[in-house]
Symmetry: C2
Subunit: 213 residues, 2 copies
């Protein structure tokens, strides 16, 4: 599948590398594609382009930007390159201004809803925002069974595509409903981050699982 | 230990029964103690009283009220009967007015913070709000290992008491920090409820676990 990754930081690079390893064709979008020369050279199957180039290339788009740069990155990607496409929103609206991580927004809105509002024609699916980057496409590395990924979005077909990708690498997928359910998924990222911060960042390898009985 | 349970609905009754089974002395507080005659007769070790009676009796208080009745229940319990005590806040600020469950408040506040604000002298610990009542003190019934309970509160000693109670019955306990961390724990209840509602309420037996690697 042709994958466009918007965001070329640690998360975007790791996703691009893992998607290529899984056999997808990947283009990473960035302001300055030249900066990714070394990364691209080390990862056959990954190319670098502008955000618009990555968005135009991808059949599926993965949004892996810092929250504060998300809107601009989507503007650069171009609505016309995103309309109709499945857009996996991995962002977390983090606010570090208080000295410890908090949500910059929530309760009656969410990053997922904001992104869907900015690109109404995209089929936004909230997913993958509740684990560290190198676990996103490597959930089988967790001990104690299959971890679960909570997803949300308005388009059933788009959620189906994302579910196939996630289940294919070993996630259990729990579809919570429409994109407003991002309000309840994004706080999980704060639990993840707070648990990591409380450990002095020695704990970075946790994922959520729903147990049953 | 002497336990005071505030709230005599399904959750309060189940907690009282399970606490008595564990060997604690339990008083359940309610507006009309006479209504609990049958329940009390079937559960040796449990007595019924007013909220003030239950609060005065308990060394530890478990708050298991519907959110909309919580403030009044605490007023009836009486600040003087709660000051200095560990108060386990099991409430979830639910709003069903939109046709599906939502949080009545969140993001920059939480039920846990509201409760702590109403009774500043109590040592409030958010806990147990993310599973169904009959699992709260029976976590060993889940399949796939020890589920985890996320807790939050300002008082380390109170969290220690709650941790001993929870670990004693089989929870892993993850202390996220002060009572403001309730902002991230209460959304988990909405994930629980939404997952149950999406299944037509056939799924009511799930709990969260943190996997590691």
């Amino acid at each position: 599948m042709r994958m466009g990754v918007i965001g070329s930081g640690m998360v975007g690079q790791r996703l691009a590398a893992d998607l290529a390893r899984l056999g997808h064709e990947v283009v990473v979008g960035t302001r300055d594609p030249g900066k990714l020369e070394g990364f691209v050279a080390e990862h056959p199957g990954v190319r670098a382009a502008t955000n618009a180039g990555a968005a135009a290339f991808g059949e599926m788009i993965l949004l892996a930007t810092r929250w504060e740069g998300t809107r601009e990155a989507l503007d650069l990607a171009g609505e016309e390159n995103l309309n109709g496409k499945t857009l996996v929103d991995i962002t977390n609206p983090l606010d570090f201004s208080g000295g410890r991580p908090a949500l910059a927004l929530g309760w009656n809105t969410s990053a997922g809803e904001q992104v869907q509002g900015w690109i109404p024609g995209a089929r936004v699916v909230k997913a993958l925002n509740i684990v560290t980057a190198d676990a996103m496409l490597n959930p089988r590395t967790f001990v104690g069974g299959e971890p679960d990924m909570f997803i949300a979005g308005n388009d059933a077909a788009a959620k189906g595509e994302v579910t196939r990708l996630l289940e294919g690498v070993g996630w259990g997928v729990v579809d919570l409903g429409d994109i407003t359910m991002s309000r309840y998924i994004e706080p999980l990222a704060l639990i993840w981050i707070t648990h990591a911060a409380n450990s002095g960042w020695t704990k970075r390898d946790h994922a959520f699982k729903l147990l049953n009985r």
